[in-house]
């Protein structure tokens, strides 16, 4: 591990040793504990990106709230998107314990400086996409996130416990949407299949590039922020969704999927990583649209936030005067 310097410039060997001990003992680092700057920065990057993903992720599903085809589905979808706003709030709060402000995170997001999950740069033209997002996208998110409940940084791990509980409900409701469509009319079945065809590969890419090409993974695993490699998690996800797709009566768009007795896992085909990097670089179907919507909400709301701040100042002045 790199040697860390204190503010005075001296190497604080004792603090570093304590940090290493906590990590080795699988205990939690808390906001008041000393931590290496690189650990802090890695966490800020990861937690804020995760928060941004929740916030941007409200859009593709929000797209169907006004058109949900039954009132029950409308209610479930609204509750789900509301959960995502809540997740964004917890995650921003967890990141704030590391010394970054919410304003800074918002600015990084709307100026395009910060990243968020590329999956949300795809459009949701079909109602069945509400099913695919729940089943595949939230399903992949759960595989990624359950191990994060044990992340070494306390506030992050604890936020993830609650988030994972809600995500698992989200996944079930997505599966249920697809099941209902698949067993519905011919048009509904086709709607479900078409949607799964579009979301399958992007969902698998949510685990990040293959381990060999994942630059930040090794250090994060050493720090116990990350517990499993990208490829391990991807395999776990494929093993989970193949039998589920059979229950759904839908096919996954990969002819290479096949049970491998020897490995005890499903084999699956190569993913088109060029597409992944294209979307990551901002050349996805909806990158500019997602950012612009966030920017517009922020800018259109500026006068409201100013009014709330002015009112709060006025109230506290009056309280002081009385």
């Amino acid at each position: 591990m790199a040697r860390e310097e204190t503010e005075s410039g001296a190497i604080d060997q004792d603090a570093l040793a304590r940090f290493d001990e906590i990590i080795a003992a699988d205990e939690r680092i808390e906001p008041t504990d000393w931590m290496p700057e690189a650990y802090r920065k890695t966490l800020i990057r990861q937690i804020s990106q995760h928060g941004h993903s929740e916030i941007i992720g409200m859009q593709p599903e929000g797209n169907w709230i006004t058109r949900a085809p039954s009132l029950k589905r409308k209610a479930i979808l609204m509750a789900k998107v509301q959960d995502e706003a809540g997740h964004g709030l917890y995650l921003y709060s967890a990141a704030q314990t590391l010394g970054i402000t919410r304003d800074k995170m918002t600015e990084d997001l709307i100026t395009g400086k910060a990243k968020y999950s590329s999956i949300f740069n795809y459009h949701t033209p079909s109602w069945a996409d509400m099913g695919s997002i729940g089943w595949l996208v939230d399903g992949a998110a759960i595989c990624n996130q359950v191990p994060l409940c044990r992340a070494s940084y306390g506030p992050y791990g604890r936020a993830m416990v609650r988030i994972c509980k809600e995500e698992s409900f989200h996944q079930r409701q997505g599966f249920e949407i697809l099941l209902h469509l698949s067993r519905g009319t011919k048009e509904q079945h086709e709607m479900a299949q078409e949607s799964v065809n579009r979301w399958y590969a992007p969902a698998l890419m949510m685990f990040g590039p293959p381990d060999a090409d994942s630059p930040n993974s090794a250090q994060s695993m050493a720090w116990k922020i990350k517990r499993f490699s990208n490829d391990d998690l991807r395999q776990r996800f494929v093993d989970m969704i193949v039998p589920q797709s059979e229950v759904l009566g839908l096919t996954l768009p990969d002819p290479a999927i096949k049970w491998n007795e020897k490995r005890g896992h499903y084999d699956f085909g190569e993913l088109d990583w060029d597409e992944f990097y294209e979307v990551l670089k901002g050349r996805g179907p909806a990158n500019s649209i997602r950012l612009e919507r966030r920017r517009k909400a922020h800018e259109d709301g500026a006068w409201v936030r100013e009014a709330a701040a002015a009112y709060a100042a006025r109230e506290s002045e009056q309280a002081m005067a009385s």
Binding site: P69, Q82, A85, H180
Partner: protein, 271 residues
């Protein structure tokens, strides 16, 4: 179904499914009345749902969606109940009626506008619904009373939310005050219709809350907020109304077209 099979005490979870399964079939008059209240709540929920991922703050995304969800819950209960009279489900009523069959008051279909206009509409809607449900929880009709008792608690929060924003926008900055006043100017003409009695409500004495009887409470509670906001009670245009008779402003058609499009593309399908 036995007469005692449907008993819901105040505060119990009370859903559209409960109503559809357990309520007694309402009379035609009661169903028409429930339809009005259901349409008010449904149209408001639909409007508020638009704000998701567009609100000025994340906390407000959460709050407005919460209010929309509550309204949708009330709508589902009222529509499920009304539908029992005609052998229709909540979805039949929400998705397969035309514009002139909707009987919401015109206030609820007024556009979101900017955040101030949405708050002006929320302010009126929540103070109206609070008075309405407060009275309706004592209705001789057990189902209406039970729906109202549950809704009342939720609408109390909606009222507080609207009041808090009325204060902030009115007393915050010059710009926010200008917008708040403009929002009220747009919305206030639709207040009067909410308090009009008609043949239907006259025929449901002891069952329906007579709209005119809600006015005093509404005026009192809104006047207190206006005073704190240092705003004169708006006066000016009064819209002709007619929502309860299926006469609507030019906005409802667009709203329904969007809300109903997918369901109507697949008649007979379930979701």
């Amino acid at each position: 179904m036995s007469e005692t099979s449907f008993q819901v005490s105040v505060g119990e979870a009370f859903t559209a499914e409960d109503v559809a399964e357990a309520a007694e079939k309402p009379t035609e008059q009661v169903a028409r009345y429930a339809l009005r209240l259901g349409d008010d709540a449904l149209i408001l929920a639909q409007q508020l749902g638009w704000w998701v991922a567009r609100a000025p703050e994340l906390e407000e995304d959460v709050a407005l969606t919460n209010i929309a969800l509550d309204q949708l819950g009330h709508a589902r209960a009222f529509l499920s109940y009304a539908g029992l009279a005609w052998g229709k489900t909540e979805d039949d009523l929400a998705y397969f009626r035309g514009e002139s069959e909707f009987v919401n008051a015109q206030l609820f279909e007024q556009p979101n506008g900017d955040f101030a206009q949405t708050i002006a509409r929320q302010f009126v809607a929540s103070h109206f619904q609070f008075e309405l449900y407060r009275q309706l929880q004592g209705s001789a009709n057990a189902t209406l009373a039970a729906i109202a008792a549950k809704a009342l608690k939720e609408v109390d929060y909606h009222r507080d939310h609207a009041d808090q924003w009325m204060l902030r926008l009115s007393l915050g900055t010059d710009e926010s005050r200008r917008r708040m006043l403009r929002g009220l100017e747009v919305i206030w003409p639709f207040v009067e219709e909410l308090f009009r009695d008609d043949e239907l409500t006259d025929s449901l004495k002891g069952v329906a809350a007579a709209p005119s009887s809600l006015l005093e409470g509404f005026e009192k509670s809104t006047a207190a907020v206006f005073a704190r906001c240092e705003i004169e009670i708006p006066a000016g245009f009064v819209a002709r109304g007619g929502g309860r008779l299926g006469q609507h402003t030019e906005f409802l058609g667009h709203l329904l077209a969007e809300m109903q499009v997918l369901a109507r593309e697949h008649p007979g399908a379930t979701w």
